[in-house]
Symmetry: C2
Subunit: 497 residues, 2 copies
């Protein structure tokens, strides 16, 4: 290892260490040095001043400088060489211009990424809310707010999850398995209220419900497959089916849910959200459920039931899941913890015939092994502690009062009749046929109101433009009525022009 | 809502509530009731006794019973009906035999899952360690032990991650984005010691390195693609390439790493582990690195560099990553936090040209949105607090002493010469050609020693049977020497037969 004289004056080095700003002193020394290395002002082989010299120059203790140096060594920026001292690592590549052998060869032709990637088509959902929606005073966006997260219960459960007896499932490579405790609580606590009885072998934990839908599509669909989807419906599921080469067939939704009877022939799969139809929030009637099950069985159609939110019914108990009513094993049930906990935690599950679950498990293993053990075990311990019921109850109370305020405000202030819903976290609004909801959404934002345009939920061409969603979970309770007032004023102004 | 007389005697109900066992009382009441509902002893429409009557029967307070009832209502097992009382939810499906309309129709034909799934082939890795390896006294398994997890630092960072200013990135749906703080720390702290300078747009966070490899394969490979892989090499990566329809081409590994020069023509991709070749632990020489980069660029081959573990070098600094030496954008770098934190946390990253990262991001969005925000933010805060350097340093110290003990024990006690390695967490052992390491592994287990057979790492047919891995990270320090003694004794006994 060759080392040359320090090329940087001590004064420059001292200058580059920032003043007191709350950061620990040794960190400031470390950060200054990595910045100098990163910018090339210090290069591979450069010697650092001795800790005594630098400590004197900075007016800091030697301990502080030594701690920074030790960290730099641990991180690989610097080498400690016996009888020489601390030297910038010559192995830092691009910044080590003096080590000729290691410099990149600029004569090599660059890779043609554009050509490589041209054939690859990945659809993504249309964006219907601005990224900075939290900065608006009246954000009627779809989806839960982070304020509802049960921080105390989560933190307690997480601490327990790291105790000796839980460390294995929390931290080990589980290969292709799931946390057995979470599977048990899904089986015993989450599924029974939905009417579903399932064996351990019939449950797979996923990174949220989108992951479940993706795995199911990957296992069961291919070019030539035909999937019936709700119209309007969930755009991301459609994208997933199309990405597997399948054709999607739009089937209209009415007051009882997807109106599929008589339209099942020739389908391989039917994707439905019977508990709370997305985006209309209609709950599928029990009669429609039985009819769909029977036609699906007779036509050999796999039903994918996305029960992304079944906890929040405000006026009556929800009917049992399709999965609960099914005797044919033909229903694949997709559940989510996004609404119980938080969407950013990415946790959901699939319940299905054990043979399909086994396939999905192998696909998942090859894709990413398993959902993080620590999130699985922490969630399981929260459920075990009784927090599932407590949290759902609390959310339901808060959401119900928001829902009532929104519903009342709409019927009192809104120029258009809005069909009431009895659950969920949003309202689906149909404006007059000439409405362009995308334009309305832009103008509403200029008055501080965020609404979500509905056209991406449609598959038909041209898409209807006169629908939008009003979410009421993320917005503050006190902002709901004034927000609807502002939106109504805007609509009335435009109508009178 | 019809409700009929309670069909279950109070005495039976009282019986079914278990005695004191440390579980909170209201939980025991709740659990007894859900079990009765689940087993069909209580059915939809059955009335529960009033809380006063049940409390008297159980000798518990009314508050306790009321709490259990409230939880059952929140969970949907039970409905609270005004002026009537608590009634088992008729919507519980299969157990509500009295609600004829809702019962599954047994006449429907079952779905033919076998037929559906027959075409689907998903390879999984051969299992090389017993699931219960932790119960053996001398587990020389490959991979880190959970004991190394920095629980205190993690818990502190997690608490911070749930504070107001961090809740958004921790808990929100990030759509297709990553936690910007983690990306920043990957850029500023993790990559520079490896010689890599990267822009934000060139980094994608993944669910561990397997997820990165899967996304890259999905984006860049298809039927007809040819991928060069190390022989011996990482079986899971091979499986991923084959699953995309690609053909894998084995390329031998020598003392300097994969011996690819002259063998690059006709390949679309080359998968390599230059920092620590899996499973041999060879570090690729700098000359070989430059040669491979140059031949790959001239042949238009994408290099996937799996740098799954570069922190643990014991005798010298590692050379810079291939990615650091590359001027052609043709290297796709895959990193992992499994060794810094724990494999069960599933966190890794990909560094590449921004156009590829954008594609991978869209694939990931469709697959599962994003890795859990709370794990991303907690890890970022740990790195920010300086724990990355501290933890890596501590691990390196522990691992180095284990490595030295293993190396010394092997050279002192072992009948076969083992080529020394200077880093990593395992040793690759070549026995005499006639050795069947799979058989040896079975016999070693009967003496309490777990080793991992090496044949799944080979692609050639027939696979060599005389290699195995000795991992030294998960085993206790004090067990290393006696474990090697036992293994050596077994080998010597067998040789003298």
């Amino acid at each position: 290892m060759s080392s040359r004289q320090q090329s940087l004056g001590l004064a420059r080095l001292v200058d580059s260490v920032g003043g007191e700003d709350g950061t620990p002193r040794y960190r400031r020394v470390r950060d200054a040095l990595t910045t100098l290395i990163e910018t090339g002002e210090m290069r591979g082989g450069d010697m650092l001043p001795s800790s005594r010299v630098l400590a004197d120059g900075l007016g800091l203790s030697r301990n502080t400088v030594n701690r920074a140096y030790r960290e730099l060594v641990a991180e690989g920026f610097v080498e400690a060489i016996d009888r020489v001292g601390y030297v910038v690592n010559s192995g830092l590549g691009s910044s080590s211009g003096d080590v000729v052998d290691w410099v990149a060869d600029p004569a090599l032709p660059p890779l043609d990424w554009k050509g490589r990637l041209d054939g690859l088509q990945v659809d993504s959902e249309d964006v219907t809310k601005p990224a900075d929606w939290r900065s608006y005073p009246y954000p009627f966006v779809v989806g839960p707010g982070p304020e509802s997260f049960p921080t105390g219960a989560w933190t307690r459960a997480m601490r327990t999850a790291l105790r000796k007896e839980h460390r294995g499932p929390s931290l080990h490579n589980l290969v292709d398995r799931d946390d057995p405790l979470l599977v048990e609580h899904i089986r015993k606590t989450i599924l029974p209220p939905r009417g579903i009885a399932a064996d351990r072998s019939e449950i797979l934990v996923t990174l949220g419900s989108q992951h479940g839908i993706h795995l199911i599509a990957e296992a069961l669909l291919g070019p030539g497959s035909r999937v019936g989807v709700e119209e309007p419906g969930y755009p991301d599921a459609r994208d997933t089916f199309v990405r597997q080469g399948a054709q999607t067939v739009p089937i209209p939704v009415d007051d009882q849910g997807i109106n599929v009877p008589g339209r099942m022939r020739g389908l391989d799969m039917l994707f439905v959200t019977p508990g709370r139809q997305f985006p209309t929030n209609v709950t599928m009637s029990i009669g429609r459920r039985r009819r769909i099950l029977s036609e699906a069985a007779r036509n050999g159609v796999v039903i994918v039931e996305d029960d992304y939110e079944s906890e929040y019914c405000y006026s009556h108990q929800p009917p049992p899941a399709l999965k609960a009513l099914d005797s044919t094993t033909g229903v694949v049930y997709v559940g989510s913890f996004s609404k119980f906990l938080a969407p950013g935690l990415r946790l959901g599950f699939v319940v299905s015939d054990a043979r399909l679950i086994d396939c999905l498990r192998r696909l998942r293993h090859n894709m990413l092994r398993h959902p993080p053990g620590i999130i699985q075990r922490t969630t399981a311990l929260m459920i075990e502690a009784g927090d599932y019921g407590r949290v759902v109850r609390r959310h339901r109370r808060v959401l119900k009062s928001k829902w009532r305020t929104l519903t009342d405000s709409l019927s009192e202030l809104f120029p258009w009749a809005v069909r009431p819903t009895d659950g969920g976290m949003s309202v689906w609004v149909e404006g007059p046929p000439e409405l362009n909801a995308a334009d309305l959404a832009v103008r509403a934002r200029s008055r501080g109101v965020v609404i979500e345009r509905g056209d991406p939920c449609f598959l038909s061409d041209p898409r209807p433009t006169n629908f939008f969603q009003l979410g009421f979970a993320a917005i503050e309770f006190d902002a709901i009525r004034p927000g609807i007032e502002r939106l109504a004023t805007l609509i009335n102004e435009e109508a009178s022009r």
